[in-house]
Amino acid sequence: MEFGNLMAIIFIYILVDNLVLHQFLGICPFLGVSRKMETALGMSMAVVFVMTMATVVAWLIFHFVLEPFDLMFLQIVAFILVIASLVQLVETVMRKVSPALYQGLGIFLPLITTNCAIMGAALLAIQEEFIFIEAVVFAFAAAIGFAVALVLLAGIRERVEESDISERLQGPVVTLLTAGILSLAFNGFQGMLSL
């Protein structure tokens, strides 16, 4: 295992099994904060940060608390608890330690608390039976995948906004169409690689 395996995980979860465009997790921030490139980048950074941490902590909780007591059925409830507290903790600490970072990411952190992509990543890491290092790499790659999708859509939306499109297609309609086409495009990666 190796290094190749880890590289495969990175490739798969950024392009092939993209969290947003293939597994359809985290659609709400995908559509909600993709209006401007600036906010999309901010949100992406926050997601990369929180998803990696949340998955790591969730993995530890699962393997060192839930598994020994045979309480695996509690994983969803436990993970909600973990993620919510973690985000809150990160916010509190960040506000004190790095006000600049807080200014940039602060608004997005509460949004992430209830984000299904974060939850999905934590659950997937368990479901795929990753070992610790794999889980870390997986979470990071999945978050980068999310960021790629978000930034792509934000870029397209900024352009669409300025072009002359039919009145009936304006607003959410063209955004959803764009997202759909993006998703189709990413489906082209299907079958290229699997674990």
Partner: protein, 289 residues
């Protein structure tokens, strides 16, 4: 049905309760250790501000402005939409003497509507003044006139503007808070801010061109003939780059200038377009295309 085992229930409750308790303690400890001292006054000031986050004060939002006021970086009268009431409330919170701030309103200094101003070519690009302005200097023959694509209308945080049928933005005086955001968005700097209760005449033109070229491009533009500056008994009108500008503090509304202006560029708010009718027919002849 499967029998429910009490011990499993107990274990589950204990595990989750334990996790919850640990996280709870952790969070409350963190809140203590990493507490950030927030100035009480910041919150109080944020509450009295309009909360529109219009950015007229130069800060990103009302909250940032409140912080800046508290730390003494911003002027207490910085919030233009809030007006006098807000200023006096902020002063109360900070225990400072009040500062007079004159409420303002936005005015579009251009009267060259679609019928009047000459268009050089048909613009079919993105519906944004900013872009149209960059394309060959804009589709209007006048390089200073309103392009009428509504960047200002979109920018208005108070919904006080709309695009008129004649291709000039209309400003709802009641709703305009005088924040000046529209003025920043206008790529040609046509929109100006004047005192809210000003009802006298204004030069409804923004053209810095001289003489004939103004007349060719727009029959209601100021061609810088200086007739008004000489006529004004208050000496309220000055020429700035071939454009007559009325000093709103000096003007007493006598109307001498209106009579002297051959272009009909001087008028009061609400009188725009009416002047076009009175112009000699010669000027209105097929100027468009």
């Amino acid at each position: 049905m499967e029998e429910i085992k009490v011990e499993v229930l107990l274990q589950a409750a204990l595990a989750l309760g334990g996790l919850g308790a640990i996280f709870g303690i952790l969070l409350s400890v963190a809140a203590r250790v990493f507490a950030v001292e927030v100035d009480e006054r910041v919150e109080q000031i944020s509450e009295v501000l309009p909360g529109a986050n219009c950015g007229a004060c130069g800060y990103a939002g009302c909250n940032n402005f409140a912080e800046a006021v508290c730390s003494g970086n911003a002027d207490v009268g910085g919030c233009i939409p809030g007006g006098k009431d807000t200023v006096s409330e902020i002063c109360q919170i900070l225990g400072k003497e009040g500062v007079e701030s004159v409420p303002k309103k936005a005015v579009v200094f251009c009267d060259g509507d679609r019928q009047t101003a000459v268009e050089r070519f048909v613009y079919d690009g993105s519906p944004s003044c900013k872009h149209a302005d960059k394309m060959g200097g804009g589709f209007k023959a006048c390089a200073y006139g309103c392009l009428g694509l509504g960047d200002c209308v979109e920018a208005c945080p108070f919904g006080a503007m709309k695009m008129g049928d004649n291709g000039l933005p209309l400003i709802d005086e009641e709703a305009c808070e005088g924040c000046g955001v529209c003025a920043n968005y206008c790529p040609r700097g046509i929109i100006g801010m004047i005192p809210r209760d000003y009802r006298n005449k204004l030069v409804m033109c923004n053209s810095r061109d001289r003489g004939k070229s103004v007349v060719k491009a727009c029959p209601v533009g100021c061609n810088g003939c200086k007739a008004c500056t000489k006529a004004c008994p208050q000496e309220a009108i000055t020429m700035e780059d071939n454009l007559a500008v009325i000093d709103v503090d000096k003007c007493d509304g006598c109307g001498e200038c209106v009579a002297k202006c051959k272009q009909g560029a001087i008028k009061a708010l609400g009188e725009q377009h009416a002047a076009v009718e009175k112009l000699p027919r010669l000027k209105l002849r097929k100027l468009r295309k």
